[in-house]
Structure formats: structure tokens, C-alpha cells
Symmetry: D2
Subunit: 130 residues, 4 copies
């Protein structure tokens, strides 16, 4: 299982009045991770991949201006979709990573009529290589 990584900085808008990153903001980081993973895999990232489930477990908080590393990987392929795993770490001085949250997103592949269709060959192939 190959892990794809991308880095980003926590923005002011991502935080809330408790001084830490708002719980929903991590789902935006997950999406950035997925988009960059798909770009590397040469896969389209579009409307034909509706999300059917997502979840996040919080271990430690991120704060404004933290440098984060978002890791994404194919956790499972299904007959008509797949599940992506996510991990968000803080990049510490010196470069070590501190795990902050873990989660996943399950997506289905749909046709023009938005009904589920079998996972297209290009996804099967791209994921098989990982």
C-alpha cells in the first residue's frame, strides 16, 4: 500500500475560538490529500465520486500556522467504489511527524444518472499498482 503525502499550513480560518483547528476543518485537509493522490495516480477527481461515508478520530490538536503532512492511501477497493485512509501529522522542528488525526472517506463510482457503477478499469489499475 503506497502512501501519498502532501503538506499544507493551518490557516486562521481553519481554527476556532478554542484556539485550535475546528473539527470539521480536517475534512478539508483530507480532501486536499485525496486530490493530490488522484493527481499523482492520473485519476480524475470529480462529481462522479460522491462520498457515502467519512469519519475522523482526534488525538491531538493542530494550531494556527502549524505545518501539516496529510497522508492518503487506498484502504479498500469495493465492487462499486473504494475507501481512502487519511492521517494528518504535525511536522515538528527537525522534521519528525506527530500524528494528530486519523480518518477515512468511502466513495462510490457513479454514472451520469448518479447510480452506482462498477469501479472503472482505470481505477482498478491505478489502485492495483499501489
Amino acid at each position: 500500500m503506497k502512501v501519498f503525502s502532501t503538506r499544507l499550513r493551518v490557516r486562521y480560518a481553519d481554527t476556532d475560538t478554542s484556539g485550535i483547528v475546528y473539527y470539521a476543518s480536517y475534512f478539508l485537509y483530507f480532501e486536499t490529500g485525496r486530490v493530490e493522490m488522484f493527481r499523482e495516480l492520473g485519476l480524475p477527481y470529480d462529481y462522479h465520486l460522491p462520498i457515502v461515508e467519512t469519519a475522523c478520530r482526534y488525538r491531538a490538536p493542530a494550531r494556527f500556522d502549524d505545518l501539516l503532512e496529510v497522508q492518503s492511501f487506498v484502504e479498500e477497493t469495493r465492487s462499486k467504489g473504494f475507501r481512502i485512509g487519511h492521517r494528518v501529522h504535525r511536522v515538528l522542528d527537525g522534521g519528525a511527524l506527530e500524528l494528530l488525526v486519523e480518518g477515512h472517506t468511502a466513495m462510490v463510482t457513479v454514472g451520469e444518472d448518479r447510480r452506482a457503477v462498477p469501479l472503472p478499469p482505470r481505477f482498478v489499475e491505478a489502485f492495483a499498482g499501489e
Copy 2:
């Protein structure tokens, strides 16, 4: 000039790590005010009203769970658009209003090809009555 009012509560997500409402969140409140004003005027609120300019002046901060009153009004009609004024107040105990921010949004009326078109009669009529 008639003023349209709607009320909403500050959400956690609207605040930032400085303990107050994030500066961009007020533009979401402005939009809620516009949508409710258009609903009362019987006007459509859709893609054919692109925003060409917006601004906000900040006088006092709002905080999590504050009850806000958003006021909206037609500030100016133009040959191919209009400008909406916005005021956001905190509703104090007892019901008095404390002005927090003021702003405006200028929109143009466009056709299917997204080129500006003269302000449609239904807008002229709706705004004339105010």
C-alpha cells in the same frame, strides 16, 4: 428605503483562534441577509447575479453564540445591476442593537452567456417599491 432584517447565531466554525468571528465570516452573514431579502421581495437568487465588488468595515467583534441581526437594503440601482447595503448588529439583552460591521455588495445582472444585461423589470419593480 426599506430595511430587511434576519437573525442568526454565531457558530463555532465562524470564529477563529483570536476568540472572535473571523473577518471573512461576515460575508456569509451578508449573504444570508441578501437571500432572505430576495425571498421577501419575491426575487430569484441565483447564478445570474454575479458579485462584482464587496467590502466590510469592522467596528466591534462578534463572538461565539452571539445573536446577530443582519440588515439588508437596496443602496443603489444601476443600469445593469445594483448594490446592496449590509449592517450586522449584536442583539443585546433587552433587545437593543449594537452595530458591529457595515458593508455592501454590488451585483450585476447577466444573461445565459454571463454578459451583463439591463436590470430586469421584475427587479426594477421590486426595488422601486422599497
Copy 3:
């Protein structure tokens, strides 16, 4: 188990380019549901309730300006926290509800030092009555 309900409208900002509500926006609706539930129960809603887990299953999409009913209820109390269940429905013409998403949020009760502490009596009592 008492279910607490609150209503809200989908904002432009909550939607994305696919024409439906962005998947992370539902976590903002969940929070509005929790805040209003806590208000009714007379409980504080603050920094001493960090979220440790959340999840959402998506059944049908919401769109701009939909009127939504957010339902919140205590799903489980734990020695040092609790889990809130969430359901978001579309309010159809005529008033019937269409289930759109289901989810939950688990929170722990912490002290000043942010370490987990036993569920305070006021929470035990408020939840017991439900």
C-alpha cells in the same frame, strides 16, 4: 431518548461546485444541533468538551436554500464523556422529513489541564432526564 430538533437553511457557502452541499458542511449542521440541544438542557457548551471522534453517512444530497431539520440526541454516556447522535433531514413541502445524513460525535469532559475527568453531575442529571 429525547430528540432535540432545530431548523436551518443551506447557505451558498455550504455548497460546492458539484451543486450539492459539501461533505464537511454537515459537521457544521451537527454542531448547530448540539449547541441548541445543550441550550435546551441548560448545559454549558465550551472548550472543556473536546471532540474525540465524529462520523457521517450520506444518503441523499442537500442543495442551496433547502430547509433542513437537524435532530440531536444522547446516544451514549461514558465514564468520562458521551456520544451525541445526529440526523439531518430535508423539510419537504407539506412538512414531511426526508433523511439525508446520519452521524455522531463523541466528546470527552476535561479539566483545566485538558485531561479527561468523570462526567460532571450536571451532565449526568441532564442526560438522565432524556
Copy 4:
């Protein structure tokens, strides 16, 4: 006047149901530009710089996954604050820039009591060099 540049990609969450970037999202891009400008200038970016005014003029829309270049520069220094100019461009294939929006943000320097104080010497110096 030195112009500071940073690049970012449009996220799904930044867009709305009209298929383009939501009007308030540009203020998040402005902030990313300011934060990176301050980092390069060695200046703190914190709560003691409340925003008193902001504005944006929209010329052309950005879309999901567009690569943007955000430019920031000191437009004006004042006795107790300053005004930052912003420009957001789309980076076209080949590297040319297409101007999408222009704006500014005015900030005041405040003390612990949140009252305006004269622009601190480190700001005067950092800005003088630009």
C-alpha cells in the same frame, strides 16, 4: 514597493453551487498571502493586528483545482496601522498570470487592552525596506 507572492490551489470547499469560487473564499486567499508576506518580513502575525476594513473587486472567476498566485504588498502605512494590497491571479499553462480579483485589508496595531497604538518600530523598519 515589493510584491510578495505565494501559490495555492482552489479546493472543493472554496467553490459553491454556481461552479466557481465563492466570493468570501478570496478573503482566505488574501490571508494566506498576508501570512506568507509577514513570514518573509520576519514580522509576527497575531491577535494584535485586528482588521478594520477589507474589500474585493471581482474580475473573473476561479474554479476548482485552479492554481492561483496571491500577491501581497504594503499599500500604505498609517500612524497606527497599515493597509495591505492583494491581487489574485490564475496561473495559466505556460506560466502567464490572469488577474482574477483585487482587494485590500487595513489593519491597526493594538496593545494588550486592544486600543490602537503607534505602528511599532519593527513594522516601520520592515515596511520601509519594501
